[in-house]
Symmetry: C2
Subunit: 396 residues, 2 copies
């Protein structure tokens, strides 16, 4: 019974939220600037001033009836065109507006993508470590989420386990690259191999296995990193995008689905999204925000701080003897804890005002996540605390 399921969820408090609340409380005691809060994945740089100026301009100049008017159910036509054009220009694709469906962030995009291609009895596979919200996203839609164990060597895909777990029940595979929480970007080799497996198994099972590619961190990729555009490599791809991170607009809930034009029934899927919306009370992201992001479609906030922070942390973690794969993007880093139980490890860190997230809920026990979307100055100051923590607790 679904009603009971929602009630039960109330008793399971999010680990991240608990840690974030602890950080806030501790901040009241010693000043929040002294709490090294690596718990939350919130952008720490402002939206480009061009976005703000575009909104002010629209509010001053445009007819309010048009500006705040109903969006067509698939999204504002000109905005869908702008997005298709931008993707084509930047990634050599051939999207048309008919392949774009506007959503309330990546969460809304994934909710629609799942309902396009899966129903009760179906399975969706994802790879550890994974964003824990995938559990409610998938399971509350009546589909089962299966977690393929992590490849802890480099956090690329564990193909051996993946092939073992694939079955005719598989309706889709859900990936997130650049990845939350590992910070890893799947390489061209990984994506090519994934596409090969999906094609082979689709043929074997006699039905398509779709790829849902969750890409909110697409624009946060560090220098020299191989970051393929996933949809180029597999025709049956639903690209799920959010402007939350690239434009630092997490609260405005704006994103889209782009269905690969080479996917069979691509345009039908987009139209289905419009029907799915009616059942889940979605009905388009806000008109003004749709129009706003279209005005700055190829821009991002100044994302360079994330790479600066990553380099500082990575070097220090390695110096302190942590096992850690160097992130290729995002604002996360994912080291192995210095004892088997990462929950205990992170609990001890709190004594040093270091707020670290154990990775058990990410499907990767023994590891922890640091979200370094904070001021570089704070990162620098946290290094002293990190040293004291490691020395005092682990004698290093």
């Amino acid at each position: 019974m679904l009603v009971q399921q929602y009630k039960d969820m109330l008793n399971r408090k999010s680990v991240i939220r608990q840690l974030s609340e602890f950080a806030t409380e501790r901040g009241k005691e010693i000043g929040y600037e002294n709490v090294f809060d690596y718990s939350l994945g919130n952008p720490s740089v402002p939206t480009p001033k061009e976005f703000t100026e575009a909104l002010i301009e629209m509010l001053k100049q445009d007819d309010p009836m048009t500006l705040h008017g109903y969006s067509p159910s698939l999204g504002i036509t000109s905005v869908r065109e702008t997005i298709a054009d931008s993707l084509n220009r930047r990634f050599g694709m051939h999207y048309k507006k008919e392949h774009i469906f506007m959503t309330s962030g990546a969460a809304g995009a994934i909710a629609h993508a799942i309902r396009c291609i899966a129903g009760a009895g179906d399975e969706i596979l994802t790879f550890a470590p994974f964003f824990p919200e995938y559990n409610p996203y998938v399971n509350l839609s009546g589909v089962e989420l299966k977690i393929v164990p992590a490849n802890t060597e480099d956090f690329q895909i564990n193909f051996e386990e993946f092939e073992k777990m694939l079955s005719p029940k598989a309706a889709a595979v859900l990936i997130n690259t650049p990845n939350n929480p590992s910070g890893i970007v799947y390489s061209t080799e990984t994506i090519k191999r994934l596409a090969e497996v999906l094609r082979k198994k689709s043929k074997e099972y006699g039905h398509e296995i779709y790829l849902i590619s969750d890409e909110p961190y697409r624009e946060i990729v560090f220098e020299g990193v191989d970051a393929p555009f996933v949809s180029q490599f597999y025709e049956n791809t639903f690209l799920c995008y959010s402007f939350s991170k690239s434009l630092s607009l997490p609260g405005e809930r704006i994103g889209y689905i782009a269905v690969n034009p080479d996917c069979k029934d691509a345009e039908t899927f987009v139209n289905m999204c419009g029907q799915i919306s009616r059942g889940i009370g979605h009905n388009c992201p806000p008109s003004m925000i749709q129009l706003g992001v279209a005005k700055v479609i190829d821009m991002t906030a100044d994302l360079s701080v994330y790479e600066t922070n990553m380099n500082l942390l990575y070097e220090e973690l390695i110096r302190l003897g942590f096992q850690c794969v160097k992130p290729g993007g995002t604002f996360y880093i994912f080291p192995k804890a210095l004892e088997e139980d990462a929950v205990l490890f992170c609990e001890k860190a709190k004594k040093y005002d270091l707020i670290l997230v154990p990775a058990d809920t990410f499907g990767c026990p023994g590891y922890f996540r640091m979200a370094y979307c904070i001021d570089t100055d704070k990162v620098k100051r946290s290094i002293e605390a990190l040293r004291r923590f490691v020395e005092s607790e682990y004698g290093r």
Copy 2:
């Protein structure tokens, strides 16, 4: 299979949308100003300038990280408080922020309310004539929508049929007052009687029957009309509100649920909404719009044009011999067609550039809806067309 259900829906085009498209096409031939388009329920007055000014002020002054930052999953705390205070001040209630959940319009509110209290095998009853989107809202959540036939005498509730149709499967009753499409406001007597029936049957069945009160037209009530605040009369009420009509912001998707403080587990229901959101990809309405409506919480757009238009149309329809109950609010009027088949009637009206919507999909065959959210000048000009139509086709 749900996937198939969404596909099937693609083949059933909305009557309203088809008529609206016809109006647009006809407009290209003779100028849209000459098409008397009564098809769409879109506000026709601008949002208050205070709302626009508040947004510009926030964009200029506020820290963009806060302004566009993640909203807590139940909505921005200060906004929830502002809404509770406003409802208490205006309607003598005693809501606290803990009873308010921010949603993407009334559609989002209803989607959450349904999932709080009903699951597969349950029924939700509504009264004809009804907003046809209730079909996907309810049926796609796995619950069955039952339509109680209209009381065509005054479009209040048909209690005789209602009591016959109630069964232990009833989880909730969904009402819409002021009503789309009838324009009727349920009287205090109606709401009191409804509450009595619900209390009696809840007791008899041994479980609560909830009232989901969809109130996007709450602020559009005409002079002298008895318009009770529904939640005052029944404790187990989920008030579903949207600012789309009151502030003329249909595209910005902003509304809320207010659970009656006297409802058992009221605060639990609000917390459950936060969990339901995770399953349907909702995740809060846009932060900036939440903050914006809170700044003008007790204001509305200038809604007086709707009453002016209603009076013009009502008088003319009566003069022409239509059977029609005088609307108490909204921007709809709901006369009986001049022949049995309202579809045919509306088809004939198109020859006179009158776009009227047959009420078959509203659960009330033989009637038609006119959405008079258009310029008063156009309403006046349409009267000549209405006269020609009635005279030529029906000899009156």
